[in-house]
Amino acid sequence: MIKDKISSQEIIDLVSSKAVVSKRAAEEFLKVMISTIEDALIAGESVKIKNLGTFKLQWNEPRKSVNIQTGAEIILDGYYKVSFTPDVILKDLVNEPFAHLEPIVLEQENIEPIQEDTDVALDPLRIFTEQASEIKDLISEIQSLSPKSKSVVKPIAKPIVRTIVDEQKVEIKIEAERIEIKPEEVAKIEEIEELAAPVLEYIAEKKTESVIVHQEQMILRDKDGSYTASDEAAEFGSSPFLDDYKYKKKPKVWIWILLAIILLSGAGSGLCLLYPPAMDFTQSTLNNCITGMVKITGNISNSGMFKTVNGWFVSTPQKSEMTQSIVIPKDTTDDDSISSIKPIDSLQVMFDNPRVYTKFIASERIRGGSRLTLMSKRYYGSKDFWVYIYEANKVKILNPDNIAKGTLIRIPKLDPRLIDAANPRCVKKALELHDLYVK
């Protein structure tokens, strides 16, 4: 590319030869042209020249920079720049060598649909495989469980009931002692924990006892033939059929009870060890809190009652004192802000206090290309205040630069003083927050 610089003198020559005018006239014309354009620009107007383009003034903001040698920060002053937008005709003429080229939408677009297709095609397969694996797991589980469930699990459930029923029958019919024992035992079963061993022993004892008793009973029955035995036996004998039933059933029943107790104790201890501590802890703390609250409220109400009893004149000043003591901080801040420079203080307070977002103007779902800054621009008028939207939705947003699609973003209602784009302090604060969150 040959870059010959053509001076204004050459332009003058060319124009004079083309227009058949004297060079002096052409020179004067050019000078006047430039001076009028300048004047118009200085007056703040834009100048449009047909087939050439538009001249406009553009303000460049002052900005910070760093001195390369010293590293000291310097502020570059803002300045006006003459911007020139070429006319479409000029643009096209200049760009003629590349005019045949057109923007090409890259294969990326082609790839994406293919990917989607493959995804769609794969989805059923994936679902299938997932389902298959699930089914496999289920089958294996069932297979592993089925022998147990047949031998252990199912029978346990029924025999437990049966045993309990049996025990009840037995113990109701036997003696008051046993009835007394039974609740203990049941309590022990319920308690489970490490007491399982004693319980087992107890049961073993009971078993032996009952067997002995039955044996005795049988002996007695054998001896006397009829039911004319001792007082103990008489009671047993009152229902011989049931006794026989009990006797036959008992060994099995006791096995089931043992199994059930072992299982229950295992499960119970596990539960006791794993879950309850935390639950107990939270519950206890909660309870403490509640009781504390109750106490406090009770005290308050009591004191209030006392005061009312003592008399209205005594009670009301005290109450007002209390309320005053509570409200005092707010009042003082308000008073200060009113008495001294109000906007600065209230703003400072707003900046310093952690913002709580309770009211929301709207909510938006993140789509591809959604930006918090754009939302901020839409709702607050400036993109600088996106930080507040981020603050309000911090829980849902991992990275503010890349929010997952479909995330529901709620736009908080903000104090208009906080999002005043005209106030440099608001902008500064927002930028501070920006630095805080983006780093």
Partner: protein
């Protein structure tokens, strides 16, 4: 200020009929255009330089649709104000 107003202003300054000024302006613009098409730089003393710059091809990604597009290279007319003009504009008050 549009084309007509510019011609009117210039005619008033030069004490010349508008038609002549319009002709001269057209010729000036056409010569400038021709020179720019030849990719030459035009420097107007005390005003600024017109030059043709080549913008290289680039890949653009549409922010919301993620469509990637190859933007072909192109030639663009660029105007850079001279320092003299910049100094003149410095005196302007900034009202924004």
């Amino acid at each position: 200020m549009n084309h007509k107003e510019l011609i009117a202003n210039m005619a008033a300054k030069m004490n010349a009929p508008k038609s002549v000024v319009a002709d001269l302006l057209d010729i000036t613009v056409s010569t400038c255009t021709e020179l720019l098409v030849e990719e030459k730089t035009i420097g107007f003393q005390s005003f600024g330089n017109f030059e043709v710059r080549k913008k290289e091809e680039r890949l653009s990604v549409h922010p919301s649709t993620q469509i990637r597009t190859l933007i072909p290279p192109k030639l663009v007319v660029n105007f850079k104000q001279s320092n003299i003009l910049k100094e003149k504009l410095k005196d302007l008050p900034h009202h924004d």
